[in-house]
């Protein structure tokens, strides 16, 4: 899923400074699962913003609404009635697709992101997420024993590990495990080194973000 993190509250406050009526929109997709922008997080942020305003004697209404998803126009449409009530600002609590879809559907509204979109990852434990994919557009994890060097190696090297691998962790931080240590150890433990010997060629990044913004069109689905 896409892992997000709430922006610092001061930054969010700066978005709505001087505004009186704010709509906070959550998303029941990825950000609900990673506890960043679901109904509950919307409720918490709304309460914090209200408390903050109240303590300073400022007038502020924060309405809350959580959509099924912010990345599908059908769901974004559901906000139409609410938006027509007139808000000074709309805060999206989705990944960065959310504020963009809201802006596109409601072009007159001032839409702000209240999350930072961090990475594509999974939960290692409750409350702990780690990056596992960089959307390079051409998955090769089968070559690497089910582990991804593109997203999990700090240098995305295709023939590792580099000299910065120490005791299973990366030179950049003890918090970052060296994926190449895992890959090499796995092949050695399984006695499959011969299988692992070929040099992996220089990667073609054209299907990655380097090829420009990407788009998929599935003709059989397009009406």
């Amino acid at each position: 899923m896409i892992i997000c993190e709430r922006k610092p509250i001061d930054e969010i406050k700066s978005f709505i400074d001087g505004k009186k009526k704010v709509l906070l929109v959550g998303c029941r997709g990825c950000v609900t699962v990673c506890n960043a922008g679901g109904t509950k997080e919307v409720e918490i942020l709304a309460a914090l913003l209200r408390l903050d305003a109240q303590k300073d004697g400022k007038e502020l209404t924060v309405d809350e609404f959580t959509l099924e998803r912010q990345c599908d126009p059908e769901y974004v449409d559901e906000l139409a009635d609410l938006v027509s009530k007139g808000y000074d600002a709309i805060l999206s609590m989705a990944c960065s697709v959310g504020p963009q879809f809201l802006s596109r559907r409601y072009p007159k509204e001032r839409v702000y992101p209240s999350l930072n979109t961090c990475f594509i990852g999974g939960a290692l434990a409750h409350g702990v997420w780690a990056e596992h994919c960089q959307a390079c557009g051409n998955c090769v994890i089968h070559i690497y024993g089910g582990l991804c060097p593109v997203s999990r190696c700090s240098k995305s090297i295709m023939n590792g590990p580099c000299g910065g691998s120490s005791n299973g962790v990366c030179e950049i931080s003890k918090e970052v495990e060296c994926v190449w240590h895992l890959i090499a150890s796995k092949f050695m433990d399984e006695g499959r080194l011969a299988e692992f010997a070929p040099i992996q060629p220089i990667k073609d990044w054209s299907k990655s973000r380097d090829g420009g913004p990407r788009k998929i069109v599935r003709e059989e689905l397009v009406k």
Partner: protein, 311 residues
Amino acid sequence: MTREIKTKSNLERVLASGAFAVTGELGPPRSADGSEVAHKAKHLVGNVDSVNITDNQTAVVRMSSMAAGLLVQREGLQCNMQMVTRDRNRIAIQSDIMGAYALGINNLLCLTGDHQKFGDHPQSKNVFDMDAIGLIQAVKSMRDDGRLLSGQELPPEGRPKIFIGAAYNPFADPEKYRIHRTAKKVEAGVDFLQSQCIYDMPRFRAFMKEAVDMGLTEKAYFMAGVTPFKNLGMARYMQKNVPGILVPDDFVNRLKAAPKDKQAEEGMKIAAEQIEEFKTMPGLKGVHLMLIEWEHMVPEFVKLCNLTPRP
């Protein structure tokens, strides 16, 4: 062992002759003042066969390795231009290789490069279009097949005749895998390999034996990295803090036993003893001296090790 000479590299000439080769290392300044490079190079001329010019080492911005390499070559010493893939994509890499060769650079050391996280510009975007092994392949393809990575051909007179180098680290983790990664560099087409500083002689011996047994030393020239300890503190620091570098207690104790003003001397003595062993170690063809910010000691050190005059 006689090998075909592929380039005008002095280092290749020495290695192919069967003589024990010596390379040095020079870090360009964080400055646009070329005279500093020339000044450092003076200590190395005549004492080493070629000198590595580091490429923004530890991701700290310094004068470009190509420019500093040329300044060194003006002093009469060939350089091993280091190139990291951290800062260049394949377009810049191939372009720089052509340019470097056109300007008279014959040796290129292919490296992935340190991550910028601990450099002086951690905010920067890195490239890593390819790793060191990809870089070796790219240079080899340009030199031997006359082809760019795109497949486009270079004219015969336009092929960069580069002597291709790379680094190997016998002790980084996972240690058992290190020989296999080195083997990949050899397979990719590297001509010479320089190691990180070696202190643990028994383990290095074991590593070299593996390299010989796998036939790697027949395909590429292996050189051992040497850095004399300046003092006890440095030995202790390297022992504790530098991943992939193993400093035996024995060396630390010898430095400890020496009076403070004699520690540098003892450090050089230890290194000289190591070099004596390297000279006869099967499969090993030379040493790479890394006297970082201690370049002025090189003349004295190579004399102590009986490495001069250079062939």
